[in-house]
């Protein structure tokens, strides 16, 4: 949310315009041939896979709010990073991990307490963002900051972030996979986790760190709005279709990657649909596709229930 970010976004946005103009002359061949589109497809898929894996546990553990809060809280680091002169990416990641730790410290076991704890940390984080923003954006024309962070675009990503994104995504996935059994038991029943002597506290903190990593990555590359959508929607839809966590993750990854690609295609084709001069924002297209998929998965619920003829907890 700092001045650099805005400037970067503005320059990248303007540099992306010629590409989009050529895109508008359409055809699938030019779609796959375009360099920004290729990068968008790759980064989108990478982020979608990580988000789906972490997202399934986020939904099971009822931590959607924390996931969303962490995305916005990364912006605190993003704006502070500019003040102290470190890289934007690390600002986001460090702030996310710190916020995750703080939430775990303030939060209590009950879901309601966690809700308030998230809210308090979140509120303070937003306030700090406002302050940093004020301190480092005394430059005229910086009011686009909030907009560019919230609605960052897949089409204007710098290719040089790809390796870092890849490594951090792998770390997030590794944490989830390594603590798989702990997470599963702890998410389903805390009493069972206690009996089995699972380090509940450590599991919670580790998971929040993985969540923070996944969310910060996508917030930085594709915008805070989209990161929450990619985290929650595929996982929630998948968990309506199956109760088996392994399956759910596979379905969630398929939904996440599929929706992202369809959204990118729609955004690409949308050039000139309404007012002529713009394509529709990528974030918007992907979010709408994800929302529709989630609604459709609700249609599958009664069918599945009838097939099973068993009363189940509705997810």
């Amino acid at each position: 949310m700092s001045a650099t970010l805005i400037l970067a976004a503005v320059t990248r946005a303007t540099s992306a315009t010629p590409a989009q103009v050529s895109l508008s002359q359409s055809g699938l061949a030019s779609f796959f041939g375009s360099a920004p589109v290729q990068l968008a497809l790759v980064i989108g898929a990478l982020v979608a896979v990580t988000s789906a894996l972490v997202g399934v546990f986020t939904v099971i553990r009822r931590q959607s709010f924390a996931g969303h809060a962490l995305a916005d809280l990364g912006a605190v680091g993003g704006s502070a990073a500019f003040l102290i002169g470190i890289s934007q990416l690390w600002g986001f990641v460090i702030a996310g991990v710190l916020a995750a730790g703080l939430m775990e410290v303030v939060g209590v076991k009950r879901v309601q307490g966690r809700d308030v704890a998230t809210g308090i940390v979140f509120g303070l984080g937003l306030g700090l963002t406002g302050l940093f923003l004020y301190l480092d954006t005394q430059v005229p024309g910086t009011s686009n900051a909030a907009v560019s962070v919230l609605f960052g675009s897949l089409f204007v990503i710098d290719a040089s972030v790809l390796p870092t994104v890849l490594v951090l995504a792998l770390v997030a996935c590794a944490i989830v996979l390594l603590t798989w059994r702990w997470l599963l038991v702890d998410s389903v029943s805390q009493d069972l986790a206690f009996v089995r002597r699972i380090p509940v506290r450590a599991t919670g903190i580790l998971f929040l760190v993985a969540l923070a990593l996944a969310v910060e990555l996508s917030a930085l590359t594709i915008g805070a709005v989209l990161s929450t959508a990619l985290l929650i929607a595929p996982a929630a839809a998948a968990l309506r279709l199956t109760k088996r966590v392994g399956f759910a993750i596979l379905i969630a990854i398929a939904i996440g990657v599929g929706s992202t690609w369809v959204g990118i295609l729609i955004s690409y084709q949308s050039f000139g649909w309404l007012h002529g001069a713009h394509s529709w924002p990528v974030s918007f297209c992907i979010v709408v596709v994800l929302f529709v998929v989630y609604l459709l998965s609700g249609v599958a619920l009664p069918i599945r229930a009838r097939a099973r003829r068993a009363a189940e907890v509705v997810l």
Binding site: F65, G67, Q112, G123, L124, L126, A146, V225, F291
Partner: protein, 267 residues
């Protein structure tokens, strides 16, 4: 500090604080911080759309906030509520992105909607804010017992014939009205903090709602007043002081609670 151009600010901020303290108590009691976050943030898309169409932003925000409240509650009947809130919030924000990209030159206005504009309240805005504030307070007072029961003991409320869905919808609508009246002045950021911080602090001082609610309103008022004064003298953004004040109050509340629990334990 109390000069003419700030009089409106003091009045509207106080109204917003009273409403936030009262509504926020139920936000914390029902564990719906996420809703309290989602409606103000989503409502900003309404403002973006309204500006695009050239109508009053407050109207656009009202429509989006109420629409969001209805969507969250009805979808929440069949899906899980935190998932539904997250997705609705994101969808509303995404529409905001679309409106922003369709319209061109008004991001300064959007910025003010997100982060507040407390030092520039015109006299025309004071009337509607007071009216909406009174509606919020009246709604809560009228439904006080039912709302309390359905928040604390949902099963018992259901047994007494109080519809859980009806109560959720009612409460979401109250939050939506509070949002529409507050956001144009104080910003989505500040409102959320006021809805959670002071009430959460008040709840650690007393479990009795008739004590905690006035305490919560008092905390919210003090936070807002001190913040305006601090913003006036330091010329830093008012939203920062409000969020900081809320967090400090909550910290004090938690500390007090811990001491009291220890005292009871030793006795």
């Amino acid at each position: 500090m109390f000069s003419d151009f700030l009089v409106n600010t003091w009045i509207t901020a106080s109204v917003v604080a009273v409403v936030a303290g009262l509504v926020g108590f139920f936000v914390v009691l029902r564990g719906s911080s996420f809703l309290a976050h989602a409606l103000p943030h989503g409502a900003f898309a309404g403002a973006a759309g309204a500006t695009l169409l050239g109508i009053d932003p407050i109207l656009g925000m009202g429509i989006f906030a109420v629409g969001g409240a209805v969507a969250v509650t009805t979808l929440g009947r069949r899906g899980r509520s935190d998932v539904v809130i997250a997705l609705s919030l994101v969808l509303m924000l995404a529409f905001g992105a679309l409106f922003l990209s369709l319209g061109n030159e008004y991001s300064a206005e959007v910025f003010a909607l997100l982060f507040g504009q407390i030092l520039g309240v015109s006299s025309v805005e004071v009337g509607p804010i007071i009216v909406l504030g009174v509606i919020c307070v009246a709604a809560i007072v009228v439904a006080y017992r039912r709302l309390l029961l359905s928040s604390v003991l949902p099963d018992m409320a259901a047994a007494r014939g109080i519809s859980q869905f009806g109560m959720s919808l009612f409460f979401a609508l109250v939050v939506a009205i509070a949002t529409a009246m507050s956001v144009p002045i104080v910003g989505a950021l500040l409102l959320f903090s006021l809805l959670v911080g002071p009430p959460a602090a008040a709840r650690s001082f007393s479990a009795d709602p008739l004590v905690a609610i006035p305490l919560s309103i008092g905390f919210a008022l003090v936070t807002v007043w001190v913040s305006i004064a601090a913003a006036y003298y330091s010329s830093l953004p008012v939203g920062f002081f409000v969020t900081l004040g809320s967090a400090i109050l909550y910290g004090i509340g938690r500390g007090w609670f811990a001491i009291r629990v220890r005292r009871v334990a030793t006795a």
